[in-house]
Symmetry: C2
Subunit: 258 residues, 2 copies
DNA sequence: CGACGATATTCCACATTATGGGACCTTATC
DNA sequence: GATAAGGTCCCATAATGTGGAATATCGTCG
């Protein structure tokens, strides 16, 4: 894959390319090597090393897979994010009050990554998952984190999400035109919450609000999401104040005042 | 840290030592460098690289922390474990039936690592967490994965757990002597389930059963855990059949027959 | 203000380190 | 028992990562 790396990091770049290849599903030395452009001996050395470190494991019949050390480090990364500690009790309260699915996400470049989730109690489980990445512009929590940005930046993130949606085998039914998107975002930035109805996945909608740190910067988004019968615009708007209040409570926990 | 590495992996070893240092809480270049034994320039290059890859992020005022890419890869590692996919619905059913906390763990060396968890609905949240490692010999799910081992191996794992427990600031009240431990394990290997009452953490107990793959090898452990008023030996034994049946259902899903 | 310490970042000559070609091993397939 | 596919090991070579020192950045105290 890409090699836009810095100086003095050839072996590192290759090792991480190797890991990415495995993450992408390549499961034998030959295909990993083709992906990273390394010879068999080098590929082997890198894989063996990653294996020793627990980043990769070899499973009889299935080949190379991501290892348990990554599960461990992923969990550690989550707890090093003070946000998740502060937010947990508030997410649980919100879950009790709404019976719906609660999501907490942070921005990661032009995407959003879920850092916590509590499943709803209305049957149907959503496919979202802690660690999942989604384009920032088509998720409720992502849009909540766009509220302080300029319109040109909205445009960029919107078209990026559009590009990714085009690649989908089952494009979401609620995807908005740019002008509809823009006017809705203008409304949201006034009201301080965002809605997202089937822009990202069919049958799923949510209300979200931004979470701020001590400097007033938006650092995360909180949402209540649900499935088909419960995602009428009216019901979501009804939920907005409680989502906003929960987000504000987390913001206070992160040191935000006023 | 340790340098028992293979050939031709100095820079890799150092990069991973760097990552481990950050995971261990070192948050500035100086202390990371001291931990890994690298000079400032080398430390800097490694950290910068890991940062570019999203394995590490720099947070104003808090220094270097584990990055979002690890959260993502951790989640991917979890889904590459077919076990978690197969087990999920069964865990949910068990959760509904018992109202208690459900744990699913796999063996990772001499430890066990939680790969899935559903919190109970009896208030009190346990401190366990997906990605957490515990000594194999003092967890219900760990002991379930020891059932097919020999008594000498039981002894080794027991004393290892003992060593780790000694280091604890608050040693668990239910820690057994070796002879008590051995006789209980002999019972468990006959009955096919295991109990663990406050051997690992005060106020917490569980029943667990082993999960097997197509070759009949034990590959995971499943437990129902609860807190104080619900962890009498009698109640846990009462739960054993349903835990065993759930574990068997997952085993069947993994290809185990008879 | 200007000096200081703590922290991060860049540069470059040098030798230590990672590299890749090829040999070899093991297991499955015909 | 010949062929193939996947994995492992060895070793001479030069390309790579290294560390020292120089530079930049920031905050704080006299």
């Amino acid at each position: 894959m890409s090699d836009h790396a810095g100086q003095g990091t050839q072996s590192l770049s290759r090792a991480f390319a190797t890991l990415n290849a495995v993450a992408a599903g390549k499961s034998d030395l030959a295909s990993i090597g083709k992906e990273t452009g390394t010879t068999r001996s080098t590929t082997h050395r890198l894989v063996a090393f990653l294996q020793r470190e627990g980043f990769i494991r070899h499973v009889e019949g299935r080949g190379y897979l991501l290892g348990t050390r990554l599960i461990e480090l992923g969990a550690a990364a989550l707890t090093q994010m003070p946000l998740t500690v502060v937010a947990r009790p508030i997410l649980e309260k919100l879950s009790d009050e709404t019976s719906d699915t609660i999501h907490l996400s942070v921005r990661d470049g032009d995407h959003v990554i879920y850092v916590d989730k509590i499943s709803g109690r209305r049957g149907l489980e959503m496919r979202s998952r802690v660690g999942l990445r989604k384009p920032i512009a088509v998720t409720g929590t992502g849009k909540a984190q766009m509220l302080d940005l300029g319109e040109d930046e909205w445009a960029r993130l919107y078209s990026l999400a559009q590009t990714e949606a085009l690649g989908d085998d089952r494009p979401p039914p609620g995807f908005l035109t740019w002008s509809d998107y823009l006017s809705s975002m203008r409304d949201f930035s006034l009201s301080g919450y965002t809605l997202e109805i089937e822009e990202n996945e069919a049958g799923i909608g949510c209300v979200a609000a931004p979470i701020r740190d001590a400097q007033g910067k938006i650092i995360a988004g909180l949402s209540v999401a649900s499935t088909q019968p419960y995602i009428s615009r009216a019901r979501l708007i009804e939920l907005a104040p409680i989502v906003q209040e929960s987000a504000a409570a987390i913001s206070r926990g992160m040191g935000y005042v006023r």
